[in-house]
């Protein structure tokens, strides 16, 4: 069950880490869902065409980065509202992918390729047999390891490099950067593109686990990733935990189908309900904290 949860967690986590960077730079990227979907489509198509998982994932990353770059041009250079822009990117992905799919393959539906390469499971040259720990550490798909490595990398980048310092500063006070001779727009743009890379990679890993592209394959995972950013207190490790909690809830709800006498639809909505509850608890806790902080002088 843990292993399953980790597999579900990986794409959400990676998309959320990208979104975390742009959120810290002061741009809440609500187009993660659309970017993930685009990444998933591009990955499946290129993997099928080239036979290479690496090229496929790279295509997902590039597709996400390109769309995010468009996002940055529209929001930063043309000064459009970031929420409207993000919404536009989501709609573009939702409408554009079936269109391209139809042009290329004559269908707007499921894309299944006969001998498509699947994500490999990672085989370590060493192993040990402590029951629980073994299941936790070994035998996962590569996405799980990528996700955890990226968590560490994003942490390092945000908190230990000058780039991260500038990203965190531009989100809190862009004028502080400008008056020190730095360009707030530049750092925001890079952060947005990084969020596109994260979402594109996450989408690619999501689709290549199955080896097919399904319409709406992300089914709200981009939105969940967005929530995970805030549930994780806008910190990489927090995002990791939040993404895992959601994935675990989804695993439980799938396992419980057929066992518990609760309608499937209710069970399947468990992760989303959990997300809403977590969000409410989080906001309440935060509001409480703020009230204490603002004690009278």
């Amino acid at each position: 069950m843990i292993a399953n949860s980790l597999g579900i967690m990986a794409p959400i986590l990676i998309a959320a880490l990208g979104g975390l960077i742009s959120e810290r730079a002061g741009v809440l990227n609500i187009s993660l869902e659309g970017l993930m979907l685009t990444g998933a489509f591009a990955s499946v198509v290129v993997t099928a065409a080239s036979g290479s998982i690496v090229l496929g994932l790279l295509a997902g990353v590039l597709a996400g980065a390109f769309l995010a770059f468009m996002f940055s041009i529209i929001s930063i250079d043309f000064g459009s509202n970031i929420f409207i822009t993000g919404l536009g990117i989501n709609l573009l992905a939702a409408g554009g992918i079936p269109f391209i799919s139809n042009q290329m393959f004559g269908t707007k539906g499921v894309l299944r390729f006969a001998d498509i390469a699947l994500l490999p499971r990672v085989v370590f040259p060493f192993d040990f047999r402590i029951p629980l720990l073994h299941d936790l550490l070994f035998g996962h798909q590569i996405g799980v390891y990528i996700g955890i490595a990226l968590t560490a990398l994003v942490w390092l980048g945000l908190y230990r490099t000058s780039f991260g310092l500038r990203i965190r500063s531009v989100g809190a006070n862009p004028e502080a950067l400008r008056l020190r001779g730095l360009s707030p727009e530049r750092y925001r743009r890079i952060a947005i593109i990084l969020s596109g890379i994260g979402a594109g990679l996450g989408g690619g890993l999501l689709a290549l686990r199955l080896g097919v592209y399904l319409p709406n394959i992300t089914s709200g995972r981009g939105w969940i990733a967005l929530v995970a950013i805030f549930l994780g207190y806008r910190r990489p490790v927090g995002v990791l935990i939040a993404a895992f909690v959601f994935a675990f809830a989804e695993t439980v709800s799938m396992a419980a189908q057929g066992i518990v006498a609760v309608p499937n639809t209710v069970l399947l909505s468990l992760p989303y309900i959990l997300t809403v509850i977590a969000m409410v608890v989080y906001s309440a806790a935060r509001a409480g904290g703020n009230r204490r902080a603002r004690s009278p002088r």
Partner: protein, 545 residues
């Protein structure tokens, strides 16, 4: 103090004919301002609020683009389009409100943009902290690089910002009101620092309106008024009275069109150009009786720092109490208290002999205290809503039937206000489209529509053109004559003189003096505003044992 030994070299920086207009306020912030900045000199830039001191320095620091004018660096023309250009040229400005990231630590804020790199491209934190500690120790600045900016006192924030500028090794360092939040001890630290920087051959520019500081530290002083460079003096060749006269201007020498018109408008016309503005305001029947609205012994603190100390003021029906002073002397806090948006730490606010216990703008309005804020475009109005929506914001009773607005009574009410106040705009127009004066009229008429007995105006003519100003002044006088108690908060001495029956001058969080009748003169106000009166008193005390 340093001696300038490099007379033969071209000056380090020359500003020539810098002109900057802010069209939205219809104000010339700078008109043909020229300045010369020399190595090893501390130059003070003095003037009243809004004289254009900060604007011209923002232009030099690349934070603001001028409309015209040239900047010469070592005799060569340069263009600064971005703060980066100025920083690269060695020109740094410490702003009046330094821009920091509050939740980050001091060292992170200071090295932002010039981060020392260590292993694998990470920030070399130890090097950064060591560098800052070394500088702080050298100049005796009590700054701990590991503290978060948000927990620093405002004076420390300023010192930290100066350290941040020093890390970048500036040739020209501009300080905008650096001493405003500082204690005497910190001012001394700062001045020692400035002297040693000047001795190193750097050029320093100190924007201030504290003349005593100018004499304590500067080599030269430039006076600005209404966006124009009106005088430049070596410090040894001028005196405090001369500078204060240059700063506030004299009635007979005012060269600003606005002011000339303003004076012409005064009713009854001044008998003599040089005569007291106050004279025309003394009325035969100045109302007597108990005060309608007063504050008693009001104090407000930020930590241990007093923002307001023991302020007592009162205003009677049918009179105008003018409150003036220079920014950072407590005026804005006083305004927050009397409008109900800040609860004072001690003291009381009283209306009709009854103490007000609940502090909120809403409660104050219910009690008949209307407030017209300075930043009316931000706090006072909804710019995208229509004129009508803005007018009815405070009024629901009588305009609604069963909780729904009744169109007929709405239109009737707004038409009535529109006519009474001469608002020349359609009721359906969004407020944003109106001229500044018309926006002011809309807000004014709304505030007055609640039948206020006390009206607080903060800088009522701020950003208004002459005709709108006229209207506002007329309206204020009309209100007074109708028996309203009026509190006028303004840093504009002309405005205060032409309207007020009584004048209170704030200095360092307390009432420096209250002037009535013929004591209301420009010179007296200026002396108390600048704290000169206290200084003279204190010196007198020291001399006579």
């Amino acid at each position: 103090m340093t001696v300038n030994t490099q007379l033969n070299e071209p000056p380090l920086v020359e500003l020539r004919n810098i002109t900057k207009c802010f069209p939205e306020n219809e104000v010339w912030a700078n008109r043909e301002v020229s300045l010369t900045i020399r190595r090893g000199e501390i130059q003070a830039l003095v003037g009243e609020n809004g004289a254009g001191k900060s604007t011209v320095m923002h232009v030099l620091a690349g934070a603001l683009a001028s409309d015209s004018g040239r900047i010469l660096l070592d005799g060569r023309e340069v263009r600064f389009e971005h703060p980066r250009d100025a920083i690269d040229a060695g020109i740094l400005m410490v702003h009046q409100h330094p821009q920091f990231v509050p939740e980050l630590r001091v060292w992170e804020n200071l090295i932002l943009g010039i981060e020392p790199r260590g292993m694998l491209g990470t920030i070399d934190r130890n090097a950064a902290v060591a560098r800052i500690t070394e500088l702080a120790t050298r100049y005796h600045m009590p700054i701990n690089p590991n503290h978060r900016i948000e927990y620093l006192a405002s004076s420390q924030v300023h010192l930290a910002a100066i350290l941040g500028a020093l890390l970048r090794d500036p040739q020209v360092l501009i300080l905008d009101e650096p001493t405003a939040p500082c204690s005497d001890h910190e001012v001394e630290l700062l001045f020692n620092l400035l002297r040693s920087l000047a001795e190193q051959g750097r050029a320093l520019i100190l924007i201030t309106h504290k003349l005593r500081e100018v004499f304590a530290i500067a080599d030269r002083v430039t006076v600005m008024r209404h966006g124009v460079n009106v005088a430049e003096r070596a410090i040894s060749e001028t005196t405090i009275p001369e500078l204060s006269t240059l700063m506030v201007g004299e009635d007979c020498q005012v060269d600003s069109d606005d002011l000339r018109l303003l004076h012409a408008y005064r009713e009854p016309p001044a008998s003599d150009a040089a005569s007291d503005a106050a004279a025309q305001n003394v009325r035969e029947t100045a109302p007597q009786g108990p005060p309608l609205f007063s504050i008693r012994n009001v104090s407000l603190y930020e930590g241990h720092l007093p923002l307001l100390s023991e302020v007592s003021l009162s205003v009677r029906s049918g009179t105008i109490l003018g409150i003036t002073g220079i920014r950072e002397n407590g005026l804005e806090y006083l305004e927050d208290v009397i409008s109900g948006s800040t609860i004072p730490d001690s003291g009381e606010v009283v209306i009709d002999e009854k103490r007000i216990t609940e502090f909120s703008p809403r409660r104050f309005r219910r009690l008949g205290i209307a407030y017209v804020p300075t930043d009316r475009l931000i706090r006072g109005a909804s710019m995208d809503a229509s004129v009508q929506d803005n007018l009815i914001l405070l009024r629901r009773k009588g305009l609604q039937r069963r909780g729904v607005f009744n169109r007929k009574s709405l239109d009737g009410f707004s038409d009535q206000l529109k006519e009474r106040f001469g608002i020349s705009a359609s009721l359906k127009q969004p407020l944003r489209r109106l001229s500044g004066g018309n926006i002011q009229k809309v807000i004014l008429s709304r505030e007055l529509s609640i039948g206020a007995r006390v009206v607080i105006f903060s800088e009522p003519s701020w950003g208004l053109d002459f005709r709108s100003k006229q209207f506002v002044y007329r309206e204020i006088r009309r209100l007074r004559d109708a028996g309203t108690a009026i509190i006028l908060i303004s840093a504009d001495i002309d405005e205060i003189l032409s309207l007020s029956d009584e004048i209170a001058v704030m200095f360092r969080g307390s009432v420096a003096t209250e002037l009535r009748g013929s004591a209301r003169t420009r010179e007296k106000i200026a002396e108390y505003m600048l704290g000169l009166e206290q200084a003279l008193d204190a010196e007198a005390d020291e001399v006579s044992p």
